[in-house]
C-alpha cells in the first residue's frame, strides 16, 4: 500500500518545486524599483486609514462551523458507501437514521435563518 502513496509524496514535492521555480524565475528576471507609493495597499488612492484585518461578521464563522459538521458527516458516509451492500438492510436503515438526524439539524438551521445571507 505504501508503494502506491510514494508517488503522491513525490508529486507534492515536484509540484512545490515547479511553483518555487516559477517564483524564482520571476524574481530573477523581473526588474526591481523601490517606490513608497507602489508598495502601499491597493485602495482608492488615499493612504489606508486602518489595518485591513478587521473583525468580520459572525456569519462567516457560522458557515465554517456548519462546514465542519457536514464535512464530518461526509467522512462518515465514505466508509458506509463502500460496505453497505455487504452489510445489507441494517446499514441502509442506519444511514437513513443518520441522515434523518442530519436533515433535522439542517431544517433547524434553515428555519432559524442561519443559512440566510442578508
Amino acid at each position: 500500500m505504501l508503494a502506491e502513496y510514494f508517488p503522491i509524496l513525490l508529486f507534492l514535492i515536484v509540484a512545490g518545486g515547479i511553483g518555487i521555480a516559477l517564483l524564482l524565475v520571476g524574481a530573477v528576471l523581473g526588474p526591481r524599483s523601490k517606490n513608497k507609493e507602489k508598495s502601499e495597499a491597493y485602495e482608492c488612492g488615499f493612504e489606508a486609514f486602518e489595518d485591513a484585518r478587521m473583525q468580520f461578521d459572525v456569519r462567516y464563522y457560522l458557515i465554517a462551523i456548519l462546514f465542519i459538521l457536514f464535512d464530518l458527516e461526509i467522512a462518515f458516509l465514505f466508509p458506509w458507501a463502500v460496505v453497505f451492500k455487504q452489510i445489507g438492510l441494517v446499514a441502509l436503515v442506519e444511514m437513513a437514521m443518520f441522515l434523518a438526524l442530519l436533515l433535522l439539524g439542517f431544517v433547524y438551521c434553515w428555519k432559524k435563518g442561519a443559512l440566510e445571507w442578508e
Binding site: M1, E4, Y5, F6, P7, I8, L10, F11, L12, V14, A15, G16, I18, G19, I20, L22, L23, G26, A27, L29, G30, P31, S33, S39, E40, A41, Y42, E43, A48, D51, A52, R53, M54, F56, Y60, I63, A64, L66, F67, F70, D71, I74, L77, F78, A81, V82, F84, K85, G88, L92, M95, A96, L99, L102, L103, F106, W110, L115, E116, W117
Partner: protein
C-alpha cells in the same frame, strides 16, 4: 501501447541500473509527464477561452501572435515572468510569498490519482476519491492566506467571500462524490471507471442514475474554482481582483496557473466520475468506435472544459447571497436526499457496477 513502450524502454533499464534511485527518477519523470502537459494545456486552454469568448461576442479573439494567435498565452506568460513583483508594505512577508505555493501544490498533487487509461495512473491508491476530496479542501488555504497576508481590504474581502463560498460548495461536492461511491462500491478511481464500463456506452455512466448529483457536482466544481457565474471573489466591479489583488508578476502567474489547472482537473474528474472516464461513449460492440482509450477521456474533459467557457460567456454574475442560497438551500438538501435514493437503488440492485 504507448505506456508499454515507455515502460520497457525507460522504466526497466532505470530500475536495473539504479535500483531504488532509478525508481525515484522514473516516478519523477512520470510526474513531469503529467505536470508539464497540464501546464501546456492551461496555456492552450487560456487561448481557447479567449477565442470562444471572442466568437461569442462576435469578435476575433487573439489572432496576431503565432498561427491563429496560438502563441498569445506563451507571450503573456513570459510577460508576467519578466514583470516586477512587489509586496505591500504592510503585508506578512513570509505568508505573502508562500501563499501561491500553497495554492498550487494541492491543485497539482490531485492529478496523481487521475486515471488516464486502464492502468495508466500514477498512484493507484485505494482511497483515491477521499484523497481527491482532501486535496480539493486544501485549495482554500491559498485563498485565505493570500487575502490575509496582503493586508489590503479588497484582498481581505475577496478572501473571506471566496473562502466561505468554496467551503459551502465543498459539502455538496463531497456528497455528490458519496453518491458515485455508493454506485461504484470502491474509492479507487480506476475501479470507478471500470464500474461504468458495459455494453451501453455512455449510458453506462453514473450520470444517468445520479443525474442530480452529476449536475450538482459540476456546478459545485465551477463554484469551487471561483469561476463565472460564481466569481464574486474577484468581481471586478466590486472588489477588483479579490484575494490576489496585490499579486503581480510571477506569483500572479502561479495563481493563474492554479485556477486553470483546477478547472481542467474538475473537467477530468467529472468525466471520470460520471461519464465513464476512458470508456467509449459508444457500445463496446461497435468495434473501433467502441474501443476504450485515453482519447475518450480527453474528449469528455474537453466537453466540460468548454462548458466552463460557455457559462462565463452566457450567464450574468450571481449575487453573493444567491450563491450561498444555492449552495446551502438547494444543493445540500438535493444531495442528501439523492444519496439516500442512490443507496436504495444500489441496495435493490437497480444500479451497480456493470448495470445501467
Amino acid at each position: 501501447m504507448l505506456s508499454n513502450f515507455f515502460h520497457s524502454w525507460i522504466h526497466d533499464p532505470l530500475i536495473a541500473h539504479a535500483g531504488t534511485f532509478g525508481l525515484v527518477v522514473w516516478l519523477v519523470l512520470c510526474i513531469l509527464a503529467i505536470a508539464v502537459p497540464v501546464i501546456l494545456t492551461v496555456a492552450l486552454y487560456v487561448w481557447w477561452e479567449r477565442k470562444v469568448l471572442g466568437w461569442m461576442h462576435v469578435r476575433m479573439g487573439p489572432n496576431s501572435v503565432g498561427p491563429a494567435g496560438l502563441a498569445q498565452t506563451f507571450a503573456d506568460v513570459f510577460k508576467l515572468l519578466l514583470k516586477e513583483y512587489f509586496m505591500p508594505q504592510a503585508a506578512s512577508k513570509f505568508l505573502f510569498v508562500v501563499a501561491p505555493l500553497i495554492a498550487l501544490v494541492p491543485a497539482f498533487a490531485a492529478w496523481a490519482v487521475v486515471p488516464f487509461d486502464d492502468k495508466v495512473v500514477l498512484a493507484d491508491v485505494n482511497a483515491g476519491l477521499l484523497y481527491l476530496l482532501a486535496m480539493t479542501s486544501l485549495g482554500v488555504y491559498g485563498i485565505i492566506l493570500a487575502g490575509w497576508s496582503s493586508n489590503s481590504k479588497y484582498a481581505m474581502l475577496g478572501a473571506m467571500r471566496s473562502a466561505a463560498q468554496v467551503v459551502s460548495y465543498e459539502i455538496a461536492m463531497g456528497m455528490a462524490l458519496v453518491g458515485v461511491l455508493i454506485c461504484a462500491g470502491s474509492l479507487n478511481l480506476s475501479d470507478i471507471v471500470r464500474a461504468q464500463g458495459g455494453n451501453w456506452g455512455i449510458f453506462n455512466g453514473f450520470w444517468l442514475p445520479l443525474f442530480p448529483l452529476f449536475l450538482v457536482y459540476f456546478i459545485s466544481g465551477v463554484a469551487e474554482t471561483n469561476r463565472a457565474p460564481f466569481d464574486v471573489a474577484e468581481g471586478e466591479s466590486e472588489i477588483v481582483a479579490g484575494f490576489h489583488v496585490e499579486y503581480s508578476g510571477a506569483p500572479f502567474a502561479v495563481f493563474f496557473l492554479t485556477e486553470y489547472a483546477n478547472m481542467i482537473l474538475i473537467s477530468f474528474l467529472a468525466s471520470v466520475l460520471f461519464l465513464g472516464g476512458w470508456n467509449s461513449i459508444f457500445p463496446v460492440s461497435w468495434g473501433f468506435l467502441g474501443a476504450p482509450g485515453w482519447w475518450w477521456l480527453f474528449v469528455k474533459a474537453f466537453f466540460f472544459a468548454f462548458f466552463y467557457l460557455w457559462f462565463r460567456a452566457a450567464f450574468p454574475r450571481y449575487r453573493y447571497d444567491q450563491i450561498m442560497r444555492l449552495g446551502w438551500k438547494v444543493f445540500v438538501p438535493i444531495t442528501i436526499v439523492w444519496v439516500l435514493v442512490a443507496g436504495c437503488l444500489v441496495y435493490f440492485d437497480i444500479v451497480g457496477p456493470g448495470k445501467v
